[in-house]
Amino acid sequence: MGRLSQAIVAPLKRSEQVIERVLFHHRLLVISLFALVTLLLVWQASQIRPDASFIKMIPSSHPYVENYLDYRDDLSGLGNSVRVSVATTGEDIFSTDFQDVLRRVTDELFFIPGVDRSAMQSIWTPNVRWTEVTEEGFVGGPVIPPDYDGTQASLESLRLNVLRSGQVGRLVANDFRSAIIEVPLFDHNPETGERLDYNQLSQQLEELVRDQYQSDSVSIHITGFAKIVGDLIDGARQVALFFAIALVITTLLLYLYSRSIAGTLIPIACSLIAVIWQLGLLNALGYGIDPYSMLVPFLVFAIAVSHGVQIVNTIRLESLQDPDPWLAARRAFRVLYIPGLTALVSDGIGFFTLMVIDIQVIQELAVAASMGVAVIILTNLILLPVLMSYAGVGQKAINHARKQSQQEGVIWQRLSWFATPAGAGVSISAAVLALLYGLYAAQGLQIGDLDSGAPELRADSRYNLDNAFITDNYSTSSDVFVVMAVTPPEQCTTYETLAGVERFQHYAQGIEGVQSSVSLADVSKRVTAGLNEGNPKWRAVSRNQFVINASLAYVPGGLMNTDCSLLPVIIFLDDHKAATLDRLSSSIEQFAANYDSDALRFKLAAGNSGFEAATNQVIARAQYEMLAWVYGVVSLLCLITFRSIRTVVCIITPLALTSVLCQALMAHLGIGVKVATLPVIALGVGIGVDYGIYIYSRLSSYLAEGLALREAYLETLKTTGKPVAFTGLTLAIGVILWVFSPIKFQADMGILLTFMFLWNMLGALLLLPALACVLKPHPGQRDPGLHKSVNRGES
């Protein structure tokens, strides 16, 4: 071990000397280089596009998703549609005015690009018909009477047609006070081949439909995946405002803290440069910014500021001894280069461990965050001290620092009690109690989403209210699980296939949490009964192929594919709780394992709940895998830097406690482990380790000077305690505003990250010295060279 870390740390130290010399002797060159790169990346960053792709949010190599991707084109008509419900405040929809609005909205939607016009359905489209069995056979026609003229008589015949069309609960609400326009979408424009622009579509729905037709007497409700994506992108835009607020608050706090204008503006500017570089690089590498990676600029800014604070603070302390800005900056660089680098590299690698999770948005988040941290090494560890070497912190700040260190001595004196055996006992006992509580409470932690509606958005968001309106008033559920029944080509309508699918549906409907299901077999059964005068005694799959063929003369879209080798079975669920999805998928997998044959296979799964089931499975597995990776990597880095297992325990234990408490908090708040919250723990650990590294490297330098633990810790607190506390605050400010995000998962992330940043800080300040007191990873075995580099006694 010693040799390994020697091999890594020694060149690092040598490089420090070289880099320090180059940097501080060619300052103008360094600054111009940075300016050039920044200009280039500003141009790149300005072109970054909002991006929200459905497929990126699901685990693309999970077998469910692979199966879906195999049949993606065949399933495209299924689910990717928008529903527009037009509701009246009047008695019912059978009024001239309302029908006029409904007709105009239908026309409006018809002309929106990306709409599959032939498959559009509303009571105003000619493909929606009524049929009736008479003594002579079937009679029928379009629901809108051909001679409709808005008179009471034609409204009456419209009412009759609606009743006998069987559309009540589908296109017309159960209470007859609203009607739906079902708008299927093309994923790719059939003429141009371009991908559907969800954002644009969502905007057009708002402008052309909602804004234009919503009135005192008419309300418009829109649901569908395209609308969710549009709302997500809209919501993400609002987040930019949070960034501005966080920026202002951070700047203000930084000034109050440092009392130096240069010492405020330069770290802020460097941190902004880091954000610009990160965004610019993201765009240059072909990534967009989605509602998940939206978090990264905030984190990058917060991490950058917190490192900037460390540097400015060190420069200030160095200035107490020698006010020459160049010398102070150079010394600060020397002191912080290694702990700063270690901290940032652990951040970066901690984030990068998110790559083990096979969900593209998380992987992109990992790339974006790691890149952001790498950029901070350049902007804040290198550019910042160089800039500060020109400006200096100013005499006012130096005086303030001197005065403050005397005033605050009392607080730090009290805190240093935790480095005594008594204090350590209290602190560690409290930690053990907290750990036990955390472990107990974290048992309630659930996988997946727990609320109804679109989980990405808030329960009271307009989308979810619209969605609730439609689920309440129509006989449909928005939680859809699709099983793909696969046959050889041209075999999807044989008796064996349909009877097999029918039995499967009967089985699936018996699983707790299943409301109902629909497949081609249902169409065949219903039409067979229809052909027998509607007598339900005939509602079975016929063994006679001619009867089956007759029953499937007209098949509604999406229930079979073009070469007749795929029958989607659409299963409607009560909810999308993880337990429901788990039970459903394991029961269906069991059925498939028992009965799959070459003639008929049951493949899981598509539909929003199918993907969620896959995501839950990946997340349930990945959450421990990811924890192992992030803790493993961070521990290893600490081990290499400090070369003491006890030290590693001192630094990592507070983080682990926070992780457990964070899980307990999630269980309390009803936040499940999901795509959005899974990265939080890795981010929390990655950033939280900074505190420990900064505090411990200081502490060990004082211990190496021969101070007793309590004195050494007191000195550490005097020099680093305040920036650490300040760092915790800056980081928290960066994310706490997210709690107000219109996007539910961003709010969840905000709450959890704030909690982790603050608790990690407390852990580093209170628990770390206690552990150091008990475990005594004391000096003596230390590499003297390392100490020299962080030893401020060198001056």
Binding site: V133, T134, E135, V168, E496, A499, G500, E502, R503, F504, H506, Y507, Q509, G510, E512, V514, N532, E533, G534, N535, P536, K537, W538, R539, A540, S542, R543, N544, V547, N594, Y595, D596, S597, A599, L600
Partner: protein
């Protein structure tokens, strides 16, 4: 060939013997199949055919399509989709699912007494219970019906060929009928049974698609093919059979209406009041009611010789009905409920839903109905 005379009955006797041996073979085959299934509890390979798969025990049974309901003493028995048979001992408040050896759609159930009942359904399935519905045994299925039909015509042809004075026209017709039967057998058990009725625990009838009518005199072990004895040359579906004042009545497709005054030995056609489908017959006190397509309802006070139309105010097909304790309830498509003390003063009720209703019994001062989404209860007070 409208009437079955005594000679023909004689002819049919040896046929029954043949039938028995044939059925034994089939039964053996099924026994072996069951044994095989038992040996491999997890069946691999493919979804079993509904004739071979026992009905799934599932909570979904209580929401599935149910087509017929009857009382077996205090117990209620309802049958429907996927071999579902539901039993209730508390007048329809709670239901248990019975063990059933097949998963076909069951269309009808009938109990001769508290213990002995029969159910019939798609694929020509006839089931029997002797323990009030707890266990069901498969007596007959479509393949066997097809073979019985062939055997029946072969037998007739044979005896006719031995008769030197046979009418060549009749001979030719029989040859056609046999050929038809042989062709039909190749399609497999495609035709559903639509109704079952028993006079006592031994004698009963099954009827169904394309004019099928069969009779048993031993509780369903042996069956006599009667289709060709009916005045039904177009082979209209037979929907329902009931007994009313000593006579038997059959209602069927396209206004088909038959009566037998000799316990089903011979049938003759009645003048039908309606040319659309007739789904059910209901006896209410002295009246015989005839339920049909699109809300058509007729009553007869003279054993079906004359019929009077009854205005229902509904255009939904009426599928079934029940008379109990001086009250009458008729049910049909779209949640239709017609209730009253007699057919002359029926009222259309709003049951609050639009499900297809296809059967009703009275139990414990409630109507218990079966619908396309399971059973429902309706309080009597709410009805009148």
């Amino acid at each position: 060939m409208a009437f079955l005379n005594d000679d023909r009955k004689q002819i049919l006797k040896p046929l029954n013997k043949n039938k028995k041996s044939f059925m034994q073979i089939l039964k053996n085959y099924r026994t072996w199949l069951c044994a095989l299934l038992l040996l491999s509890p997890v069946a691999h390979g493919q979804v079993p055919d509904r004739l071979e798969a026992p009905a799934l025990q599932t909570p979904a049974a209580k929401q599935s399509l149910l087509l017929s309901i009857t009382s077996a003493g205090q117990r209620l028995v309802a049958v429907g989709d996927q071999g579902v048979i539901l039993l209730s001992d508390d007048a329809g408040l709670t239901w248990q699912q019975a063990e059933v050896p097949v998963s076909t759609l069951l269309t009808a159930v009938y109990f001769a007494d508290e213990q002995n009942g029969w159910a019939a359904g798609h694929d020509g399935v006839v089931l029997r219970t002797q323990d009030a519905g707890n266990h069901w045994q498969l007596l007959l299925q479509g393949e066997q019906i097809n073979q019985l039909r062939i055997a029946h015509y072969e037998e007739q042809l044979e005896s006719l060929q031995q008769d030197p004075e046979a009418d060549p026209f009749e001979l030719e017709e029989l040859e056609f009928a046999l050929e038809d039967a042989e062709f039909a057998a190749e399609d497999g058990p495609v035709n559903p049974l639509l109704n079952v009725w028993f006079q006592d625990t031994q004698t009963g009838f099954i009827l169904g698609a394309y004019g099928l009518l069969m009779k048993t005199a031993d509780g369903g072990h042996n069956w006599q093919f009667l289709t060709d004895t009916l005045p039904n040359p177009d082979r209209y579906h037979l929907n329902h059979l009931i007994e009313h004042q000593g006579a038997l009545f059959i209602a069927g497709e396209a206004g088909l209406l038959l009566r037998s005054d000799d316990g089903g030995e011979s049938w003759y056609e009645l003048a039908s009041p309606y040319m659309g489908s007739l789904f059910a017959l209901v006896e209410h006190q002295d009246e015989l009611l005839l339920l049909g397509l699109r809300g058509n309802l007729f009553r007869s006070m003279d054993l079906g010789d004359s019929w009077q139309a009854v205005m229902t105010g509904s255009r939904a097909s009426l599928l079934s009905g029940r008379s109990a304790e001086g009250r009458l309830l008729l049910v049909g498509l779209g949640g239709t409920l017609l209730s009253g003390p007699g057919s002359q003063n029926l009222q259309l009720l709003d049951g609050g839903q639009r499900r297809a209703l296809s059967g009703v019994v009275m139990a414990d001062d409630h109507w218990v109905l079966v619908s396309e989404q399971g059973p429902m209860r309706l309080p009597l007070e709410g009805v009148n």
